[in-house]
């Protein structure tokens, strides 16, 4: 093994690592926010709103992220909407992740027994209080494992942002391999870098799961 090329390219790799980290953070943070808002709005059960939200979820889950990136970055300018590559990646990744997260949260909300929500209504809790103190804690426990699955898979998918010119980790790795050979060493290091992003998320969720489990049998 010869890690010299990797070492020589360390700053380039770091730069790409940060790009991947940025895209991953957008996916997790903004995607979760979008998904949570959609899931909450869907509990309101307003006819027309439900149709729109459902269409959003189905559309973004039913098409590849790659296509969505192309659509936003190359397609929208045709309609006169110019989107730079950051906002293109931002919107496509957030909306794509949001659609998956919304479904995961919805399943969590549906797992909360209706009777408990009615009991809290009868006790006089407001909509927001019911959501915060009765629905969310129980829905989250159900949603956590699949949520982590969504995060990890989307983080790996951020490599697709390469098609709109992002020098994220995978693209950089490929370039370095073409330039220096040494695919084994380079992909080993890149794999570790992905792992560094994904592992804390799994760990955090394990911790949260344990905590939530302790607060209720």
């Amino acid at each position: 093994m010869d890690f010299t090329p990797v070492w020589n390219a360390r700053w380039l790799l770091l730069d790409s690592f940060l790009t991947t980290l940025l895209l991953s953070t957008i996916a997790v943070v903004v995607g979760t926010l979008v998904g949570a808002i959609v899931a909450v709005l869907r509990t309101l059960n307003v006819g027309i709103l439900n149709v729109v939200l459902r269409a959003y979820v189905e559309l973004f889950r039913g098409t590849p992220l790659l296509m969505q990136l192309f659509f936003v970055y190359f397609g929208l300018p045709m309609l006169g909407v110019n989107v730079d590559k950051f906002w293109a990646a931002f919107s496509a990744i957030s909306l794509y992740t949001g659609a998956y997260v919304a479904e995961v949260f919805r399943a969590g909300v549906e797992a909360v027994p209706r009777g408990q929500v009615e009991a809290s209504t009868a006790l006089g809790l407001t909509f927001v209080q019911r959501l915060t103190y009765v629905i969310a804690p129980q829905a989250l426990r159900v949603a956590l494992p699949p949520l982590v699955g969504v995060y990890v898979s989307v983080i790996k998918d951020t490599s697709l942002a390469t098609v709109i010119g992002y020098n994220e980790l995978m693209r950089r790795a490929m370039e370095l391999v073409l330039q220096y050979g040494r695919p084994l060493e380079i992909f080993l290091v890149v794999g570790i870098l992905y792992f560094i992003i994904c592992f804390p998320i799994s760990k955090f969720s394990e911790w949260l799961e344990r905590r939530l489990a302790r607060n209720g049998a």
Binding site: E118, A122, G124, L125, Y133, L212
Partner: protein, 243 residues
């Protein structure tokens, strides 16, 4: 003035009329049992009082406050306690947490005050030692007694019971009926949907017989349960005693 008044209350589910012009009132301190065949609208009668189901027509007032406005409904929910067939305890909270939650959030009691009241009420239903247990660790009868304590913690003016013992194993029915009986003796106003005819006869001041969305008869337990004149009630009572 009656504590609860329902005037010409109509409720439909789609094409199905479930409450067909209910007129009735309950005086403070009164215990009224509601009986009637399955599907006659007994649960719905209770559920419209605190707005778990909206009504199409008519008015409902609790202690002079109408449920028609959102603000009125909020006030009414504070005055009306409800106990469900399926207990509906919050499964992620302990017994203490269940009894304290709405006190904190709705009545804005501070923690020590809410805890004091919760412990009082749990002692009253005989479950003070279950403070830290989760609902899944309790028997059905214990869960239902916690649910009663949870409702009482709001210091309601009236309590609604929807077949509070129907989901319980026979040997656990007695402990819950016992709590309900002592609540009635303490002067609580109660509207009790029940299939327990002995309880209705011994505890209720009044029995309402519902059929197809209407109150078909309203009288003393003696009138309705022991010597009913209406053939539909006679038939209902006969069916009950048959099995």
């Amino acid at each position: 003035m009656p504590l609860l008044t329902m005037n010409n209350v109509h409720k439909r589910f789609g094409a199905l009329t479930v409450l067909n012009g209910i007129n009735m009132s309950v005086e403070a301190g009164q215990v009224a049992a509601v009986i009637g065949p399955s599907g006659s609208g007994k649960s719905t009668l209770l559920r419209v009082i605190n707005g778990l189901e909206p009504i199409e027509k008519g008015t409902i007032e609790v202690d002079g406050v109408s449920t028609a406005s959102l603000q009125g409904l909020r006030e009414v929910r504070k005055q009306v306690g409800m106990v469900f067939q399926q207990f509906n305890l919050f499964s992620h909270l302990t017994v203490g947490g269940n009894v304290m939650l709405a006190q904190r959030l709705v009545l804005r009691r501070d923690k020590s005050e809410a805890e004091k009241r919760a412990r009082e009420l749990l002692a009253r239903v005989g479950l003070e030692e279950k403070w830290g247990s989760y609902p899944s660790q309790l028997s059905g009868g214990q869960q239902q007694r916690v649910a009663i304590a949870r409702a009482l913690a709001m210091d309601p003016r009236i309590m609604l019971f929807d077949e509070a013992t129907s989901a319980l194993d026979p040997e656990l029915v007695g402990e819950v009926l016992g709590v309900m009986r002592s609540l009635a003796e303490s002067g609580m106003t109660m509207l009790v949907v029940t299939h327990e005819m002995n309880f209705a006869r011994e505890v209720a001041d009044r029995v309402l017989f519902m059929d197809k969305g209407s109150v078909l008869a309203d009288g003393t337990p003696e009138d309705i349960l022991v010597r009913p004149t209406d053939p539909r009630i006679q038939q209902f009572m006969r069916r009950l005693t048959e099995h």
